[in-house]
Chain length 667, copies 2
């Protein structure tokens, strides 16, 4: 063997070595059909083989796994559907971090059990209604960015809007729309949270008063309501809020303009046919009656001008609420219609505010409108006519940018940081990625207004939510598909199945858009969600001071320190000032007479993170969660004599079971 041969052998061996190195780790992926062995350890290999995991599954596992103590990068606020609550979910781990009580009493949180929280519920709707149907959460915004301060959510079943404070993740206010019993297009916010927008859904007479269904066109109405929000106070100011009277088409989703279109809001509608059903009389049922026309109307609303009009006194008072009549809206240039195909559902404004994407659930296209064209058409009065209520209809071709064929049953659209749009396809059970045009073309560098790829979901997607997806600067990275049917995705739990949130990795460009996680949603049917960067949230770890009133977010006049406990009797009223600390209540024995009114204040005097106590009082329907520093009050009439052991219902220490006392009601 000469030197030349040695060199050849050496080079061959080096190449082999390089090849082995470069394929190291890949080797398992190529064993068998799609099987993988990562060689991490024999045990893991065993699991991978047993479960027949593909390389994609292993990659997904690693991408979504969050080791103990690490925190999620994003937080998703999701509606809890007809649970009436708000869900807080970590992304990418897809762990449910909190269920926030909103429209339905929830005893773990004491929501609807303390005096204050009962009143928040009762003030909105009386004490009869004990549930809600949450639909669309909206994070408060500053400059078109989520600011992490508040989240709003509507109740479709009763037309209510709730305000949740993100310092303590608790509901602070619920307002009831006095005009309607049905909202769907809410909540949405304007770019600086000037207003929280609530659009109605099913037509009804204002005040949901009686009128025969035969008088539908004359007496039934739609509406969109602008709730004025005071960021400092953290409250909707009802007196400064107003509604816009609309025809009794069924208004659906809305989206506020931003950047180019700031000052405007866009709501779509269906049932411009004004069908009133009647299957029982042989008439077409709503499902077909409502779906006859090829076009319904996108409502284009100048909310800044509307607010100005109200401030000029040009409104009527209906059910004690300021309402701009259709006529005034038309005269003042507040309201325009645009034809939109067909049975439209979602309307979504691109981050730059220039494009409105409308998905018609019975039309395979997304219809994209240009806001510049809309403005020009309004200025140039390019109308194709008026509807029956005298509202000017902008010429479709004058405002349309493009129609993009996406697939079957398009519903909702989200955006990312790469110039892509994503639309849910309900009938096709897929999420489609497609390219935007205009200034977005240079971001993705691909042909504009074209489908790039589709990812199948399981099954029947409604909304989708992308990371910071409704802001002026979406993040991309993650998209969650809020699927309605779960069928075979999870172990069977009886005829009522969970919904299925599927996490899609949208971090790559082009065709790669893998589905990486399934998360069952076992409480309610969530509709929409928003995803905020976790570091924008600055919640309190404990309340700022001991004796804190979470409703007003100030010190409570009923808060006390250790040593200040007392029981004050005035005639038939017994007022208790109690403290809770690991591991006792003070006082522990409360003796009252049958028929006494009990006013029971309790302060958790702990300041340690997570040192929450509960107060469970049996028979009197009371459970409180009292977080460190919090003061709460319960009131009840001691109408049954007997012995009632009250206790701490939050496991607080090794002697937690001993943290109890006796309420003794003498005959």
């Amino acid at each position: 063997m000469n030197n030349r041969k040695i060199l050849v052998v050496g080079v061959i061996m080096l190449i082999s070595l390089a090849f082995v190195l470069s394929n190291c780790g890949k080797q398992g992926m190529e064993q068998g059909a799609g099987k993988v062995s990562v060689g991490l350890s024999g045990e893991v290999d065993k699991v991978i083989k047993e479960r027949d995991l593909t390389p994609e599954n292993v990659a997904a596992a690693v991408k979504t796994y969050l080791p103990t103590g690490r925190h999620d990068e994003y937080i998703m606020f999701s509606s809890g559907g007809h649970s009436g609550q708000l869900l807080v979910i970590g992304i990418p781990s897809m762990r449910l971090l909190k269920v926030v009580g909103v429209f339905t009493p929830e005893p773990w949180q004491g929501w609807g059990y303390s005096k204050d929280t009962k009143e928040v519920l009762i003030n909105a709707m009386g004490d009869k209604v004990q549930w809600g149907d949450t639909h669309h959460p909206a994070l408060s915004e500053t400059g078109g960015e989520y600011d992490g301060k508040f989240v709003f959510i509507n109740d479709k079943a009763h037309a209510r809007v709730a305000v949740i404070d993100l310092r303590d993740f608790e509901t602070k206010q619920i307002v009831k729309n006095p005009l309607s019993l049905s909202d769907h297009g809410g909540a949405f916010v304007t770019p600086n949270t000037e207003y929280v927008i609530e659009g109605g859904q099913y037509g009804m007479p204002f005040g949901y008063k009686y009128a025969s269904i035969d008088e539908y066109a004359e007496k039934y109405r739609g509406m969109v309501t602008f709730w004025k929000f005071d960021k400092e106070k953290g409250r909707i100011i009802i007196e400064e809020s107003f509604a816009l009277e609309l025809p009794p088409y069924w208004q659906d989703l809305c989206d506020a303009g931003k950047n180019a279109s700031d000052g405007w809001v866009f709501c779509n509608s269906f049932n411009s046919e004004m069908s009133t059903g009647g299957i029982e009389e042989g008439k077409p049922p709503f499902e077909s009656g409502v779906s006859q026309r090829d076009m319904d109307y996108l409502h284009v609303i100048n909310w800044k001008k509307a607010a100005e009009t109200v401030s000029q006194g040009k409104f009527e008072t209906v059910e004690g609420f300021k309402v701009i009549p259709i006529k005034t809206a038309v005269e003042e240039g507040i309201l325009y219609f645009i034809p939109e195909p067909k049975s439209p559902h979602g309307v979504d404004v691109t981050p730059n505010g220039e494009y409105l994407v409308i998905a018609g659930k019975l039309d395979p296209h997304a219809t994209v409108y240009s806001f510049s064209k809309i403005k020009r058409a309004i200025e140039e009065k390019k109308f194709s006519g008026k509807d029956e209520y005298g509202i000017p209809i902008l010429d479709f071709d004058a405002v349309k940018e493009v129609q993009v064929e996406l697939g079957l049953g398009p519903l909702h659209t989200q955006f990312d940081d790469k110039g892509y749009a994503y639309t849910s396809l309900f009938l096709e059970s897929a999420v489609v990625r497609w390219t935007l045009g205009g200034e977005y073309a240079k971001m993705h560098g691909e042909e504009p207004w074209r489908v790039v790829t589709k990812t199948s979901i399981h099954y029947n997607v409604g909304h989708i939510a992308a990371a910071e997806g409704d802001t002026v600067s979406p993040d991309g990275k993650y998209l969650v598909s809020l699927n309605k049917w779960a069928i075979d995705r999870f172990a069977d739990v009886g005829p009522l199945l969970p919904q299925n949130f599927q996490l899609i990795d949208i971090s790559s460009k082009g065709e790669k858009m893998p589905l990486i996680y399934d998360m069952p949603i076992p409480i309610g049917e969530p509709h929409y969600a928003q995803i905020i960067k976790a570091d924008k949230l600055k919640p309190w770890k404990v309340y700022p001071e001991v004796g804190w009133d979470p409703l007003t977010q100030t010190k409570s006049s009923y808060g006390i320190k250790a040593g200040e406990e007392k029981v004050v009797r005035k005639g038939k009223q017994v007022e208790i000032f109690m403290t809770a600390v690991r591991s006792h209540f003070n006082p522990e024995r409360i003796v009252v007479n049958k028929g006494d009114k009990i006013v029971w204040h309790i302060t958790n005097i702990e300041t340690a993170h997570d040192a929450t106590h509960g107060l469970a009082i049996p028979y009197y329907n009371i459970n409180l969660s009292i977080e460190p520093g919090e003061t709460q009050t319960v009131e009840f009439i001691a109408d049954r004599e007997g012995v009632f052991p009250f206790y701490c219902s939050e496991f607080c220490s090794a002697l937690h079971l001993e943290m109890m006392g006796y309420l003794l009601v003498k005959p």
Copy 2:
């Protein structure tokens, strides 16, 4: 270079190659301090590096990840704590599959909104109490094995027990204990579910009637109740149930004997001091008053003899319920005490029934009793005395097998298939694995009654639950640590934090017992859980026939088929027979007069899996979930005139929003 040199070079290169091959995959694990690169793909490597994942984390990710459509191997039924509900969780994915409404109305499921489900709640406790504090779920058993048919759970706040049918995962019955307002030691079942056991907690006069706290020893009592269960009917038979009067020590957890100890039940107790608190008067608070003695009493109860005694008529009737007085229990040899150290909490019977493991939360030992020794001591009357109520106390040394030092704050014990026991250590925040003795020694092959290893948890573990852990043949594999505090484990969600369920891999022998997953529990504070092999559950996918009554699990007399819809008016009562199918109700328009009583039956005539419809009726506080085949009824007085759009609240099709109708209430 000669041939010898060539050989040397070749061998060196081959060795290098072999080394690279053997370390392929491992290489990343050794990069940096505990970092890993699995070389799966550049993208995954990037994530692993970015998140600083250790090899253990990657292994855990793979072990718990469940690709879309794959089902969990185990199902955990966990209490929902003061949410009042039952949680259904998949293992090892730790995904929450369902929240089952039990003691608290839950609108998503229509639980507490339909006529039947309202009645289940009201029959138990009237309509005042709208929540519960679920504690200990117990799966029904046949021959000491979970049979997958029912699960029972208690409400500590009101002393109630619920029956959930696992064909449809719905609550079918709630019974209220007439003697007490407080249970903790429930629910537990006997090995063939002959009885569901409910032990009381805080002492009170029977019927929770008034008696001065100064008469505690004379007038306050404890109890354990045996609810007779009829498996065929799926109901507790109240008339065949009975209770045992006990001293007003606070009875705590129970466990039924099995195999060797079948026919017996064991309940521990604390506050044998009969402390009554009174911190407000300068007396020792409960937490110290209750913890003075070194020993409390394990209650050893012969339930078969108790049942026989009742059948012989040797009982008193208290609050309409059969009660065996203490005196009778002693005379008949039903009740014995055993001293147990100190402030005992958990009592757990080994799978063979021979050993009882008692953990005293203020004692670092587990005290293990031998059932053979207990039986012998009873036969030989080896008593060390009697308590104040005349109950014979077995000699501690005669019945003790061993005391094993485990660590600080031991609470609960579970078992596996390898002869190990696992005990939660509340104060130490750890789970300890230790060896059992007797016949178990040959299973693990190690020294008996010794600590093997500890795994730290985060933080403050209460109960633990192992796969099939309470059966006569536990599976090992997985153990869940039900932790009470979460502190820094998850992204902050305000002062009220979730609890933390941590999954521990117990499949290996010896010292390896890794913690592999954190699951936040965002609704209630769960206490106990049981884990069943998923394939033992045979839930229905849809109801067996269209027109099904889920309460009776038979055909409903109000169920109808398509074409049979009608509205029947009788005076001021309007009875509606409605169908629901994608995507309409029939009838769609219902006209009534103000003040009419509405009786509204609705049948979901779908037979497709997951084709659930909802029925939301605004203002009248109604939401139903109507699964395929189900018939439900709601009743209300139409006391407000107006227009009330009702709608399907479960997204069922592309035309779901169109699935609505109008309830028109004429003045």
